[in-house]
């Protein structure tokens, strides 16, 4: 088994699979852009049981939007985005070190940016749907931070479990444990939060359906991208967008967010602004999802 295939299996088993099934996402060791590009060029297939589980979970997610029989295998873009997500998460790992941690985080985030740029925006509606099916659950990804305090001190364990020795004699040592669920957007270390937020925004924007599904998020703030506007330029894309938004938030709130984002579009992007505003208006008027199919696709 080649190293690339081995890496793909690890990513599938530790990142993509748990992301779809709700288990613990345990990012692999930092991948880096070189291996990520090689992975994408190889176009591996997640095999074994995890491959079947991933396929079933993606298809199940797709069928919530429209009737489908199958989804294609993970595309190179999805492998790149999965690698980028892996390194993005690893950039929040506290074990990167205190002395060189900032430089390492910056390096990881730069390589993640390169992966995201290499993946690019989806070129087809099917690809956009596939990315949403694979990564649509990221908005629910949390990191459980444990804050432990005992009689002589306290310590935080972001995304890791505290050593068992610190939990001994909880009454005697007055051990108190507090767990916080930190969302993906707040996982960054304070020193790299700004760069992290940019990379995260770019990563979310690479899956326009996922971006629209989570547009009501606090950070990164929703903004119109070429990918999301391209999605709305086709009627089935608008229908899919309406469906994912309906499942995540209220149409009124989503329309308000869209309008705010449309106002921030550059002045020479009048058509893009009009397209965005028209979709916001349509979203506000339509309170029910519209089917895509023969009834809605009469030409």
């Amino acid at each position: 088994m080649t190293s690339i295939q081995s890496l793909a299996d690890q990513i599938a088993e530790r990142v993509i699979g748990p992301l779809l099934s709700g288990a613990s996402v345990r990012p692999v060791a930092s991948i880096g852009s070189r291996r990520a590009f090689a992975l994408a060029n190889e176009e591996p297939v997640a095999g074994g049981q995890i491959g079947l589980e991933i396929a079933a979970a993606r298809l199940r997610a797709a069928r919530k939007l429209l009737p489908l029989d199958s989804l294609p295998e993970l595309s190179p873009g999805e492998w790149l985005l999965a690698s980028a997500l892996n390194d993005l998460l690893q950039s929040t790992n506290p074990t990167l070190g205190r002395l060189w941690g900032h430089r390492r985080r910056r390096r990881l985030l730069e390589m993640a940016t390169a992966m995201i740029e290499r993946a690019g925006a989806p070129t087809t509606l099917g690809e956009a749907l596939a990315r949403y099916c694979t990564f649509g659950g990221c908005d629910q990804l949390v990191r459980e931070d444990t804050h432990l305090s005992w009689w002589s001190g306290s310590r935080s364990f972001p995304g890791t479990r505290p050593p068992r020795r610190l939990l001994f004699w909880p009454r005697l040592r007055r051990v108190r444990m507090q767990r916080d669920a930190v969302p993906l957007s707040e996982m960054a270390a304070p020193a790299s939060s700004e760069q992290y937020a940019e990379v995260l925004a770019a990563w979310v924007g690479a899956s326009p359906l996922s971006d629209l599904a989570s547009l009501a998020r606090q950070t990164p703030e929703f903004r119109w991208t070429g990918a999301s506007l391209a999605l709305l330029s086709v009627p089935p894309g608008r229908t899919l967008a309406q469906r994912v938004i309906e499942r995540s938030t209220s149409q009124a709130r989503a329309a308000a967010v869209m309008r705010r984002a449309a106002e921030r579009l550059p002045g020479d992007h009048g058509e893009a602004r009009r397209s965005a505003l028209s979709f916001a208006d349509e979203l506000e008027q339509c309170r029910w999802s519209e089917p895509v199919g023969p009834f809605g696709a009469v030409a």
């Binding site: 990012p27 079933a56 979970a57």
Partner: protein
């Protein structure tokens, strides 16, 4: 008394050959004869007699002859089968009124029929020996006549002029209408538009002069019932003449009357038509009557599906085209229930949204067919629950017309359906801009079925998954990266 003597009661022997005594003891021959001094008296006799009695019983035996006496006087002898003394009594009363004399006989010798002075009739004292065709024995004369010629009753009736009779121009009964070629199509359209039940044909006669090469043609309408408001119009329009049927195969121009009751003169063939015209014009004979077609069947539905220029079919030489196109005109009648609608493609979104508000009954009874032009919705109980698109009302089980418009000419819906080709299994929708859309009936399905998308399920490979509700949220667990956390993380520049 002259040369006649009264027949006595129980007298059995008579000198006049060919006569005898009937059951009442009245002298009666095989035939009766009325001698009239002139043609106008003959007309008067026929006019009076036909007012009360019909000539149908004696028309077969009726002969009208111009007889000439030895003195050169011409008179008219109307002879017929006597059949009974009662008939001769009636005829003698009319003859007496009109200045004629009634006789009875068999072949040549005719004796004066009975009168008040001789209840059982007369007998001649002496029979005149002659070879003449007719010998008449009267109390005041005995005359021998030679038959000059015979008059045809039908020809006589045709030669009689109508006299004005304003009382004849009333009622809403059947009517024959004759129209000049230039007015025929307009009249046809007018009658069709007004929903008048009529038939139309084209009749022609030989040219009136040798200079005319074309026959004389006229439109002939047989109107079952003409509304009173139209009668004055037809009467006052030059080029249009209206005739009221007087008998089978005979019609008299409105406002005129024939001297003789034509109904009592069964001399015209039912398959022909004679139109008696007023103003001294000769009657028009149509022999045979020919084909008369319903107005509706004459009209062709010239429906244009697309805006294409009319081909302009050349009219055949000498033949007039009486077809009219079907059009839509604003309706002045109150709005009626609409049973269908056409929702344009850009309004389908609103239709979907409205569908959520419909009652189960409306969803179940509304049928929809989606086409490239839009969605056709049909509901027999009314489509008011979906006020979208162009509304239609049903005028035929297969024909829908835009609401507020009506089809002109106002033909019956069955005829309109037939004119459109009576397409089976299709529903026809008239378009305001012209043209008719046909949608197959089997393409319509209940709205409730069309609204829901069927799920396409495939068998996924068996795999154990946690229950959906117990699916945990993904959590990130970071593992220690070791001393060299980025040992494998290389960029392309490295």
């Amino acid at each position: 008394m002259g040369d006649l003597e009264r027949v006595a009661v129980h007298q059995t022997r008579l000198r006049v050959p060919g006569v005898g005594l009937d059951a009442r003891g009245v002298v009666l021959g095989a035939r009766g004869l009325v001698l009239l001094p002139s043609l106008d008296r003959l007309v008067a006799f026929l006019a009076v007699y036909t007012q009360q009695h019909s000539l149908s019983s004696m028309v077969e035996s009726l002969r009208i002859e111009v007889v000439c006496s030895g003195l050169g006087t011409r008179e008219l002898a109307l002879s017929f089968a006597a059949s009974s003394s009662g008939r001769l009594d009636r005829i003698s009363e009319v003859a007496r009124l009109t200045g004629g004399f009634t006789f009875t006989g068999t072949s040549r010798h005719y004796i004066q029929f009975r009168d008040a002075g001789a209840p059982f009739g007369y007998d001649a004292r002496e029979i005149t020996a002659t070879d003449a065709s007719l010998v008449l024995y009267h109390t005041t004369f005995t005359q021998v006549y030679e038959t000059q010629r015979e008059l045809d009753l039908r020809l006589l009736l045709l030669q009689l002029m109508l006299h004005p009779d304003p009382g004849q121009s009333g009622g809403e009964g059947p009517l024959w209408v004759l129209a000049e070629p230039g007015l025929g199509p307009s009249l046809l359209a007018y009658l069709s538009r007004s929903g008048v039940d009529a038939q139309v044909g084209m009749v022609e006669w030989p040219p009136t002069t040798a200079f005319d090469e074309q026959p004389v043609r006229r439109f002939l309408f047989r109107v079952s019932r003409l509304p009173a408001r139209m009668r004055s119009l037809l009467r006052s329009t030059p080029g249009i003449s209206a005739f009221e049927p007087a008998a089978q195969g005979v019609a008299v121009e409105q406002g005129h009357a024939h001297p003789i009751t034509l109904r009592a003169c069964p001399v015209f063939k039912p398959e022909d038509l004679v139109l008696f015209r007023g103003g001294g014009a000769p009657p028009l004979e149509v022999k045979p009557l020919g084909v008369l077609a319903e107005l509706s069947s004459v009209q062709r539905a010239q429906v244009r599906i697309e805006e294409v220029p009319s081909s302009g079919r050349p009219v055949q030489d000498g033949a007039a085209d009486i077809r009219v196109p079907i059009r839509l005109a604003p309706s002045s009648s109150p709005l009626r229930r609409v049973e269908a609608s056409l929702v344009a493609l850009d309004e389908l979104g609103r239709l979907r949204r409205l569908a959520y508000l419909l009652t189960p009954e409306a969803l179940r009874t509304t049928r929809i067919a989606v086409t490239k032009l839009g969605a056709f919705l049909i509901r027999d109980a009314g489509i008011e629950a979906l006020p979208l698109g162009r509304l239609y009302r049903q005028i035929h089980p297969s024909i829908y017309v835009p609401s507020g418009l009506e089809v002109v000419p106002a033909v019956s819906s069955d005829v309109l359906f037939g004119a459109l080709g009576a397409p089976e299994g299709r529903l026809l929708f008239f378009q305001p801009a012209g043209g008719v859309l046909a949608v197959q009936s089997d393409r319509f399905l209940p709205l409730q079925e069309a609204l829901l998308q069927p799920e396409q399920w495939t068998l996924v490979s068996a795999a154990q998954f946690d229950e959906v509700l117990s699916t945990e949220l993904p959590r990130v667990e970071l593992e220690p990266l070791g001393i060299l956390p980025l040992r494998n993380a290389k960029s392309e520049d490295d």
